[in-house]
């Protein structure tokens, strides 16, 4: 089954003509050190998790910050930001032959709703969500997965990816670079980036 690359350029197989346009300001929290400087703070970055504030000092997203009454950073994201900045690498995956119950237990254990599904040649064959797997009962994942796969490339703008999720009524987009699956972008990732869907 072919993978459909979505985007708004000539290489795209599925043309997204109206990318979602947005400028989002994320209010990011953290913990200040006794020095009360940004460089010595700990920041709960929506992109990287808990990081040193010294990383934030040179970050292009940081616009402003305050140390009191609590640490607060104002970080901006816009629709031209590439998918690779917000995708999750090493996406949880399963195979077409795996039993649905086992795949669902794996997804729950990894705390994800979507699993990429690979065939015996280790090519991307589909996407299965928790709802698919629950109705699969004792059967194989291949019986319940969505075999029509829409994907984006790492450089695809977030605005295009957000529009694709909405226009195609899907919950995730595998991120593909040439023959390789390099990540996954879900609605949850867009939510982390403060993008309204």
């Amino acid at each position: 089954m072919p993978v459909h690359i979505v985007g708004n350029d000539a290489r795209s197989l599925v043309d997204i003509r109206a990318p979602t346009a947005f400028h989002t300001v994320l209010r990011v929290s953290g913990a200040v050190s006794p020095e009360r400087t940004l460089a010595t703070a700990r920041v709960s970055c929506p992109r990287y998790g808990c990081i040193d504030g010294s990383v934030c000092v040179d970050c292009v997203h940081l616009q402003a910050w305050r140390a009191s009454p609590e640490l607060r950073l104002y970080c901006s994201i816009d629709s031209s930001e590439p998918v690779r900045h917000w995708m999750r690498v090493k996406p949880p995956a399963t195979t077409v032959d795996t039993r649905c119950q086992a795949a669902e237990e794996f997804a729950v254990a990894r705390g994800v709703h979507h699993l990429l599904v690979f065939d015996r040649r280790l090519a991307l064959a589909g996407v299965a969500c928790g709802c698919d797997l629950r109705r699969g009962d004792g059967g194989a994942v291949s019986a319940v997965m969505s075999s029509e796969v829409f994907a984006v490339e790492p450089a695809t703008p977030l605005g295009v990816a957000a529009a694709a999720l909405q226009q195609l009524h899907i919950g995730c987009l595998p991120v593909i670079s040439g023959p390789l699956v390099v990540g996954i972008l879900t609605r949850r990732d867009l939510d982390r980036a403060g993008i309204p869907l």
Binding site: H23, H61, L62, Q63, S68, Y74
Partner: protein, 115 residues
């Protein structure tokens, strides 16, 4: 009454973030993308304080500073830039990314000068 603030910055992300944080602080805020638009917006919005980026393509921060000072009852001007503070400039300056505590103390001090 809280001071009215006009933000001038050609970078949309910086402009919207600064506007949101100042609204969080309770200020009445308007924003424009260049110095030329700012000159006309000053007449309508009548800001107490104008916070402007130094380097903009249409009309830069220093030109805007000169224009504001030439106005009768013009706004107090605060300059901001990701580059170092230029020498010899007499207006208050904040670096980017903006330290909000520093900016707010400057804004309050400048606004109080206007009564």
């Amino acid at each position: 009454m809280r001071p009215r603030i006009l933000i001038v910055d050609d970078e949309p992300n910086a402009r919207s973030a600064l506007a949101e944080l100042l609204r969080d602080e309770g200020y009445e805020v308007a924003s424009v993308a260049d110095g030329l638009s700012a000159k006309s917006r000053i007449a309508e919005f009548r800001p107490d304080v104008l916070i402007t980026d130094l380097h903009m393509p249409v009309l830069g921060g220093l030109d805007l500073l000169a224009a504001a000072r030439a106005m009768r009852d013009g706004p107090e001007v605060v300059l901001m830039s990701a580059r170092p503070q230029p020498r010899g400039v007499t207006a208050p300056f904040v670096g980017k990314p903006i330290d909000i505590a520093k900016l707010l103390s400057i804004v309050e001090a400048r606004a109080s000068r206007r009564g």
